[in-house]
Symmetry: C2
Subunit: 321 residues, 2 copies
């Protein structure tokens, strides 16, 4: 499953820069840090970099304190490994002009990946980039134990919402089983990542669920800036779409959250989920966003009323198949 060029690029490089994507999630941190532990086991000296500062919920991950920001990144490395990012811009300020002449190994599971590396290893069948790193660790004879197991299980758990997404295959469960046997604690990881909503988020859900709509198999709700403030100065709606999609009547769910762009103009963050057989990845892509068939998102200019008036009809037109 892994091309020899992927293994050769890693094995022949010593000074390696690893980077993941902006607005990082658990799979971004899990795969970045997991790659770091694999490379250290191979005797390399990896440098791990992220555009964003590490949010509180991921600071506990082993190795997280060594992650550097854009200013500390050098111009030259033997190899750059980009993890879990579907396009070149997703590396943010970490990747700069001086890097364009360096070998770039892309390791990603997004079906929308643009193959922007000099070597591209893309596996849309995998539920998480961390699942790919389990196979990579095997190929590089790195044991799935200790910090590596903890980082990789974190990415698998967060990207599958603890094995709940429809791309959870027997291979995903096998990878997780092996990581748990290697010492990773599933309950602790679930606890530290997925069960870390603030009670204020649940209060916001109370408001949002009270005003939800359901038409033609599409269930959606809106969250205004005023509601975010009233619930406790929240910046996010906490993946409400994943709860909305559990409604039996719904094929597709959407949450529209009002924000302001840096110029103070209204924008709306759109988060989509779909039942098996329905594809919201293509809707997000058409609107300039990205993601997977079952989970995707985009950000659009406009007010809540304007954006829902545009997007909800598009969601209603998604057909099974």
């Amino acid at each position: 499953m892994i091309e020899p060029t992927v293994l050769a690029a890693i094995q022949s490089s010593d000074h390696i820069l690893c980077v993941s994507h902006v607005s990082p999630d658990g799979d971004a941190y899990g795969s970045l840090l997991g790659m770091g532990w694999i490379l250290r086991h191979l005797g390399k000296t990896p440098v791990l970099a992220m555009h964003d500062p590490t949010p509180k919920e991921f600071q506990y991950l082993p190795g997280a304190s060594a992650i550097i920001g854009a200013k500390a990144v050098a111009d030259h490395y033997d190899l750059i490994i980009c993890l879990d990012a579907s396009s070149i811009d997703r590396m943010g300020a970490i990747y700069r002009d001086a890097h364009r002449q360096l070998p770039l190994l892309v390791i990603d599971h997004h079906i929308t990946n643009t193959r922007f590396g000099t070597i591209n290893w893309v596996e849309p069948i995998c539920a998480a980039t961390c699942q790919m790193l389990v196979a990579l660790a095997d190929a590089l004879e790195t044991p799935l134990t200790g910090p590596l197991a903890e980082c990789l299980l974190t990415g698998i758990v967060t990207d599958t919402l603890c094995f709940r997404t429809s791309n959870t295959t027997a291979e995903v469960l096998e990878a997780a089983m092996r990581l748990i046997r290697g010492g990773a604690d599933l309950a602790t990881i679930t606890q530290r990542t997925l069960n870390q909503r603030s009670a204020a988020v649940l209060r916001l859900w109370g408001m949002a669920l009270s005003q939800m709509s359901l038409e033609e198999g599409v269930i959606w709700t809106t969250v205004s800036r005023q509601q975010l403030k009233a619930a406790g100065d929240l910046t996010s709606e906490g993946q409400l779409s994943s709860t909305l999609i559990t409604a039996a009547e719904a094929n597709i769910s959407a949450t529209f959250t009002e924000k302001l762009d840096p110029q103070g103009r209204p924008t709306v963050e759109c988060s989509f989920r779909a039942k098996p057989g329905f594809n919201v990845g293509s809707v997000a892509l058409a609107l300039g966003g990205g993601g997977h068939p079952a989970a995707s998102g985009c950000t659009l200019s406009g007010t809540l009323a304007e954006v829902t008036a545009t997007v909800v009809p598009m969601l209603k037109q998604v057909r099974q198949g």
Copy 2:
């Protein structure tokens, strides 16, 4: 792990009555029907019985149409196998006086099991009775394929909320992995069981979350009969406690739902969840209910105000350990 007496009792019996518990859930149906498929593979003629009629969400399970009610149950069988029931009364009207002289094999994973059989196989380490039946199928050389795989994965998925509960071990994931490889479809099972909330339930959650309370690590909310009616003539609150416990500030969650008993007097159904290290099973047991350390429940006489005034202080006193 399986006592030879368990295997011998099954192997030496031909005419076998299988029964599970009242208010049946996915593990009750999964283990009852799964046991049926194992026995048929061994050339036996099992009779499957349940106190309650099969609810719509489980009627799709292979073999469900053959389940009989109490009236059709005979007085004599070679063996009765009781699945997923923690005490003798949980079999409801299926188990009657004439049965008391028959051999009774109890197969269950509840830590509160009272060992009421002539042979008792109880494994509290297992997350579902269906997980035990994976081991039983192995011991009886029954392949984990087809209808058996589908039934057993249903029980594992529903009892662990799709691998989300803290008792989800590497062995649970291994059992699920093998059932998926045997042909069970995880996405379809999740879809048909856990993602079958009506939109009305989410509307009810909107009301309930808007009025939740959080004190001393206990998060709770109430659901009145009027709210059940307003949301769409609902009879259940849809396991809201499992969502409440995802709040970072909470160690314990509770949902109190107002009902009427057969005499028209107010009762309250209490549903508890706990984070790892906290035990709500003992609270429910002390109040006449039952369950597990991480998930339990009971029904108490009284109004919502009376019951919460009694129970919430008990929940606040639960200490980690």
